[in-house]
Structure formats: C-alpha cells, structure tokens
C-alpha cells in the first residue's frame, strides 16, 4: 500500500517559495536526485507527470492570499554537538538514518534492508548508496505488500540474521498489524524462548508533514503501545535518530522505529560518523524546570521547547521538557521523578487524544504521584478525527494550544 497518485511527498516543512516548489516537482518526478530539467519535463503535454506540472505552474503567476501555505508549526532546535563519539558530520535526519544503516551493514554481515523502493535509495532518500556499497542481496526491493514485508522480516530474524524492514509510511503499517502484534511481539514468549525475532527492526516515516492528510500523517504508536513484546521508539532529531536506531537494531527484541518525516530534511545538526547507541527506555530531560513538566516525543518536542520559552517569557513559568524517546517500554521513573518535583504535567502528542499514549502516561503518573500533583494532568493532542488535509493547522496540538493549557494549569 502506498500513495496511489502523484502525491507531493516532498519533505520540506514549508512550500512557500519557487525553489521549494521545484523540490516538490522533483519529488513528483519521483526522486529528488533527478537531474532532469524541470522545464523540459513540464513541456511534455502527453505524460501524466507533465500534465500535473502544467496544472501547478499557473500558481506561480497568480499567487493569491488564499494560496499561501501555512508556515511550519515548529522551529527545529539542533542538539549540542556530541563530543563523546568521535568525529561528527553535518547531517539531516534522513542522512543520519542512512549513516546508521551504513554502520550496521558494515559491521554485521547478516544484516539486510528491504521494503518498497529501498533499492534506489527510498522515497525519502534514507537508503541512498547502500545497495551500491553492500550489494543487491543486502539492500533490496520487495513486492508491494506490508504483511509480506513484516512476515518476511520475522523469518529472516528467526533464522538468525539481522532484518531491517521499511514500511513506506507509518499509515501503511496496519496491513502488517497481525504479523507485528500476533507474531513478532509474541515469538519469544510463546516458544518458551526457543525461537525469537529479536533481530527485527521495522522503520517507518511518521507524523504530520503539513499536507499529508489522512494517510501520510498518522502517528500510530498507541496502537502498538498496547502490545507486550514490542519496543516502540521515536527520535526528535538526527543525533537521536542514529543512536536510537542503532540501539533498536542491536536490541534483542522486535523494535518499531518511527521517523518524523517532517524532520527528514528540516532537522540538521552535527552527527557522529561512527557507530554509537542511545539507550532505549530512557527519557531525556532536555531542559530543567521547576513549575511544570512537559512530556512529548518526535517533532512535538520542538513545539514543547518553544512553549517552554513562551511560558517563561510571558508567564514566568519554569518548564521541565522531557523527550520520552521510547514509547514502549517507557521510562516511568524519569517522568514521575520530574512530576514529583514540579507538581504539574502536560503531555502532548499529534495522535488523537482518545486511547493515545498520553492517557497511559497520565494515569500512571496520577497513580504514582497523587500526593504531588497540584493540578489535573493536561493532555494536548490531536482531535478524535482522521487527520485532515486543508485543516491541518487547526488540527495539530500547536504551541498556542499547549501554551494555553499551561496557563490554565498554572492558574488552577
């Protein structure tokens, strides 16, 4: 399953300039490294690609106020340059994923990477160059079938090799839900540890992207959080992406690694070139504070950092910002320790509120920190609707919604 038509799957956070539109058009041509001249293709009037571009081109001249695209809902905060893992290189998130995969293929001769369109480099460029470097038996396309991809990956892992499967969008992981929930997650337990698929890692682009609508925006982590046996991990930027992905690959349990696709190109920072790991099931306190704890993961972390600044500036409120990083099994201790100190908790995620992972965090903290809580725990999440197209700016739990929640909690 993947997008059916010529869908603008480009990953820049905004499309408000001609150069970004060109990026989009290149993506329509299916692959950003294409050297085809944009105009040359656009003059072809027979092919569907040319027709699409012709439809787009009038917008350049009649750019009206109603056509203005909404700006990014977050500002990326690069991490400090890591010093403990050797030399670093400037990478965006997709490049740091490639770097992690490169390190893995180099160090583990059994490791294989497969999925839809990974051979030419992937629709998000995460596997560029790996097939040339490591061979077509190690980086290969599969037929277009998610249940097959995950089932196949389980089998590779059961036979003792390292399997890194890609699902093209997290939205399309559901056909593999049975293989993930009934099979991968339960393999070790049901066999009494005779067999396991701990060498399996499933990577998938995740989260909103500005215009991804129902099936290129979803955040399905809570569906998997209800499944013992799995690990679910989401990084906030390139340094975490590489370190956490390498931990997932090394971990002896089946892991799902969700990559915030809006950050693939937008997030750029210095990333260690060599192999390093960031431990799973450990949250990271990004900013210490004393009045309220803010918990999020993925892109939403950057929203939270901005909200923390706003709260300090406008309300004089000191926020502690925590990146959960691992959804399952999650770091209860780190979150509770923070709430014991601050007495207030706000959890925010893009996914819908009902049954979202914030509910789990909220009820656990309520149980563990009852005597310390000074206000009801707030959840600022997506609404209980499918993820909409043109209404995305109103749907997402942006900084203003989070800021308002803090204001109400402080005044409680």
């Amino acid at each position: 399953m993947k997008s059916g038509g010529p869908f603008p799957l480009f990953t820049s956070a905004t499309v408000s300039s001609v150069s970004d539109m060109a990026t989009a058009a290149r993506f329509l041509l299916r692959r950003a490294n294409s050297k085809l001249a944009l105009t040359g293709v656009a003059t072809g009037s027979h092919g569907s690609l040319g027709a699409t571009l012709l439809k787009v081109s009038p917008i350049f001249s009649s750019w009206t106020e109603t056509q203005r695209r909404h700006a990014a809902h977050f500002t990326y905060h690069p991490d400090p340059v890591p010093t403990q893992y050797g030399p670093t290189q400037k990478m965006n998130l997709f490049q740091s994923v490639t770097s992690a995969l490169d390190n893995t293929l180099a160090s583990d001769p059994t490791a294989v990477i497969f999925g839809e369109d990974v051979a030419f480099g992937g629709v998000f460029r995460c596997t560029v160059g790996l097939r040339d470097k490591y061979g077509k038996d190690r980086v290969f396309n599969t037929p277009l079938c998610e249940q097959g991809i995950v089932g196949f990956g389980i089998g590779v892992a059961v036979a003792g090799a390292t399997a890194i499967a890609e699902i093209q969008f997290a939205d399309y992981i559901f056909p593999a839900f049975d293989q993930i929930v009934n099979e991968a997650a339960k393999y070790r337990y049901r066999s009494g540890n005779l067999f396991d698929c701990g060498n399996l890692t499933i990577r998938a682009p995740w989260g909103c992207v500005g215009h991804g609508s129902l099936y290129h925006s979803q955040s399905p982590e809570a569906f998997f959080a209800h499944c013992p046996g799995l690990k679910v991990v989401i990084p906030r930027g390139p340094v975490q992406a590489k370190g956490l992905l390498l931990s997932c690959i090394a971990d002896n349990n089946p892991c799902i690694f969700f990559e915030p696709k809006i950050l693939y190109r937008a997030a750029v920072e210095q990333v260690p070139v060599e192999l390093y790991t960031i431990p799973l099931s450990q949250a990271e306190v990004l900013q210490e504070g004393s009045d309220i704890t803010l918990v999020a993961w993925g892109t939403q972390i950057h929203v939270m950092r901005e909200v923390a600044d706003m709260a300090q500036e406008k309300l004089g409120v000191s926020c502690e910002v925590i990146d959960l990083q691992t959804i399952l099994p999650w770091d209860i201790e780190a979150v509770c320790k923070s709430v014991v100190k601050t007495g207030r908790l706000l959890v925010s995620h893009e996914a819908p509120i009902t049954g979202g992972f914030a509910a789990e965090i909220s009820s656990t903290v309520q149980e563990e920190c009852f005597l310390n809580l000074e206000a009801p725990i707030a959840r600022v999440c997506g609404y209980d609707t499918p993820f909409p197209h043109i209404f995305e700016p109103f749907y997402i739990p942006d900084k203003w919604k989070c800021f308002d929640a803090i204001k109400r909690m402080i005044n409680y």
């Binding site: 995950v150 389980i154 090799a161 009494g192």
Partner: protein, 427 residues
C-alpha cells in the same frame, strides 16, 4: 503466461515447468512486439479470455495404488526395508498418540487437541525427504514431521499437558509444538502467518550458503489468507530455497473447498507466481516423498520456491471443539478411513514384500500403545511450570514495570493463596 504443462502422463512427475523465469524484457523500440515492461508476450488480434481449467485439473501424482502396488517401477523410490518400517511405525505411533490424546481431551484431562487422521502420509513422506537441518514452519496438523525427526513422546505430552517439562513453558494451547534442536519452528494459531516468515527464513538461509532449505506447511483454507499470497510472491521474486507444502484435505473446519476457492485447487496458483508446482496423492507416502525430495534438491540448487499440493482427506474432526458430522456425511469419512488411508496403503506395500505380518501388526500396536500410555501417565503426574514463567520471555530481559507486576502477583497470591491452585505448580 509462459507455462507448459508437461504431458508426461499421470504416472510421471506432473510438474508444471516454467520455461523461462520472468525477467523484465530489455526495452527495444525497433521490435514490432509488445514493449510493455510488465510482461513478455506477443500481440493477438482476436478477443479471447483465458479459461481456467478446473474440470481437468493438474493431475495427481501417485507412485502406488490403493493396494500398495507400485504403478510405475521407474518411480519407485526403492527405499530400504528399514526406512519403510520406520515410515510405517512413525505413522502408526502418531495415530496411536492421536487416539489417546483425543480421548484424554474427551475426558477433560487436556483442554484441547487436534488429530492427524488421514494425513500421516503427508507428514512422514515429506519429512523423510528433507535434511534434518532444513527449517520447518508448520500450521498445526504436522505433528508427524516432528515425530519423524525424533521428538520424544514425553515432550509431545508435556506440551499438551503444559507441564513443567514443556519446552514452551506451558504458555500455548495444546498441539502448538516447537523444537529448536529439531529445527521445527514453534506453531502459532493465526493461520498462514508462517508463510511469509518461511520466505524470510529461506532468504536468510540462502545467504548463509550452507545447503539448507526451508519447508512451510499449511492447509488449503489457510491458503486463502493474504499472508499466503505474500509468501508465494516474495519467495518467487526474492528467489528463496523454499518448499510450500499444502495439505488440501477438503475442509477448513466446516467450509468445503468449493466455498474456499473456484480455481483448480492450490497447485494451480503456483504458476501464477512463477513457481514450479505439483499435485500429489497425499495418501501415498512414496509420492509425497518423491515430490518433496526433488523439490528440495532443486530448491537448494536453483534458489527458487516449489509448491506441492498434497491431496488428502481430513478423517478426524477439525479439532476437539468440533463435531464434523454437522457438515459432512459419515459415509464420506468412512470411505477415506477404510478404503484409502495412507497407513493401510503402506501396510499393503509392506505385506506384499513380507516385511510385515499380522503378528508384527498386533505386537507393534500393543507396544506402541504401551509406550504412549507410559508417556501419557508421566506427563499427567508432572506439576505445571512455576507461575513465575508467566512473566519471562515477553522481552529478552525483564522490564522494570513487568518486574513490578510480577512482584505484585506474588504479594497478592501470598495473601489469597487459598483461592489459587498453587499446589499444582512447580515451586
């Protein structure tokens, strides 16, 4: 399609050969032929739909007739007396175990059971044609494969009784066997999930380059699952040394095959995936053996999947939770049980060679029953595993929150011990 049914008659291996593996044809605009990348074919100027051939389907390969006579000497696998006796004794031992465990479920001593009646030949014939290192993925009605590989009766019983000897630590329902030592991947209930997994394992095995193959068993009902489609297609495109072994026994619980599919069974689907395919008489252990042997040889040599559809009949109920008289006639069942059974056919073969006598039969029945009963009684006396094992192996490591739940259970049980069956469990 570029397939050819080789017309070598029913008495020879009726393999559907694929003349050329599909490779996307090179683009050449100078040729008049079709240039579509998706298929290699000629143009045709008459409108004609391709007809499925379901009336005269893929023939059923057989080596011996119902009286155990070899039909075509060139197809006789010429197995030694010792080997054939082992086939027979394994099939009948499985049958004896089935009868005793089926009864034990009827008496409420185990919670569930599924017999293998009528399909013993498919298990033993195929298992014998494999290398012991070949990895087996099964559905649930392939206990004979494990038995052929030497899985002890005590461990079959331990699994069904979920006692402290069970390698699976008592976590799964009965008949969900598994053995790491015997390369038999633990059975799970969701149907067909093992099919794409087998493809992945075969791919990994191919990269290991150690002359191993993978076999994957499933019923004709499971073949309707999406995972079957996934596994067939992946194994063909990724060139996996894998044997798909379909047990077509006519029923998926109560659903007859005419409600399961409208094509020519499962074998006819193989060529559509670019897979070499054959249909065999599943009640003929030699036909099953020959087909598996050849498929195994070629799968490993050529890195491509093979599909074997073994036609058979599910003589027993689907499971102990099913009464099959609700949807099929007793006459039908009796025909297969009395007139065309894999065990009686092999017995005819052995008796015609004086390898087996009525006396041998009597004493073997007695001996096998005794062996099974002894294992049965040992299993029944054994305690259940320590309840601690409820919490381990969820992850490789015990997570802090799971450890907390474990401790909470123990605290609770200490306080309310009279309400829990602690004395039945290992301490």
């Amino acid at each position: 399609m570029f397939l050819l049914v080789e017309e070598r008659g029913v008495r020879k291996l009726a393999v559907i050969e694929i003349r050329a593996m599909h490779r996307q044809q090179p683009f050449d605009s100078s040729l008049e032929k079709p240039q579509f990348p998706g298929a290699s074919a000629e143009f045709v100027d008459q409108l004609e739909f391709i007809q499925p051939n379901v009336i005269s389907g893929i023939p059923v390969y057989r080596v011996m007739d119902r009286q155990g006579n070899i039909i075509n000497p060139s197809q006789d696998p010429q197995l030694s007396k010792e080997t054939v006796l082992n086939f027979y004794q394994t099939m009948t031992l499985l049958n004896t175990m089935d009868r005793i465990l089926y009864e034990s479920q009827r008496q409420g001593r185990i919670s569930f059971y599924m017999t293998n009646y009528g399909e013993e030949g498919t298990h033993i014939g195929s298992a014998a044609a494999l290398d012991p290192n070949d990895l087996v993925f099964g559905q649930y009605r392939e206990a004979g494969v494990l038995m052929y590989r030497g899985f002890p009766l005590d461990l079959f019983m331990a699994q069904c009784y979920a006692n402290a000897d069970d390698l699976g630590k008592g976590r799964q329902m009965p008949v969900h066997y598994g053995s790491k030592d015997l390369n038999f991947v633990t059975i799970s209930s969701p149907l067909a999930t093992q099919i794409p997994q087998a493809a992945g394992a075969a791919y990994a095995v191919k990269r290991e380059n150690k002359n191993r193959a993978v076999i994957c068993y499933f019923g004709e009902g499971a073949a309707s699952e999406g995972d079957a489609h996934a596994g067939f297609n992946f194994s063909a495109t990724l060139e996996c040394p894998l044997i798909f072994f379909c047990r077509n026994n006519g029923y998926a619980i109560s659903t007859p095959t005419n409600e399961q599919y409208r094509g020519d069974g499962i074998a006819a689907r193989g060529p559509g995936y670019g897979m070499l395919s054959i249909r065999v008489d599943g009640n003929d252990v030699f036909a099953v053996y020959n087909a598996t042997k050849e498929a195994r040889r070629r799968a490993v040599a050529e890195n491509q999947p093979f599909l074997i559809e073994a036609m058979t009949y599910r003589i027993g109920h689907h499971s102990t939770s099913d009464d099959s008289s609700a949807y099929r006639s007793v006459d039908e069942v009796n025909y297969w049980d009395k007139q065309d059974h894999p065990i009686s056919r092999l017995r005819h073969y052995m008796m015609a060679r004086d390898w087996w006598s009525e006396d041998d039969e009597r004493s073997w029945r007695k001996q096998s029953r005794k062996t099974v009963m002894e294992a049965f009684e040992r299993a029944e006396r054994r305690l259940k595993p320590n309840p601690e094992l409820l919490f381990t192996d969820v992850y490789q490591e015990m997570t802090p929150s799971l450890d907390k739940q474990r401790q909470a259970l123990w605290r609770h049980v200490q306080q309310y011990k009279e309400h829990y069956p602690l004395d039945l469990y290992d301490k």
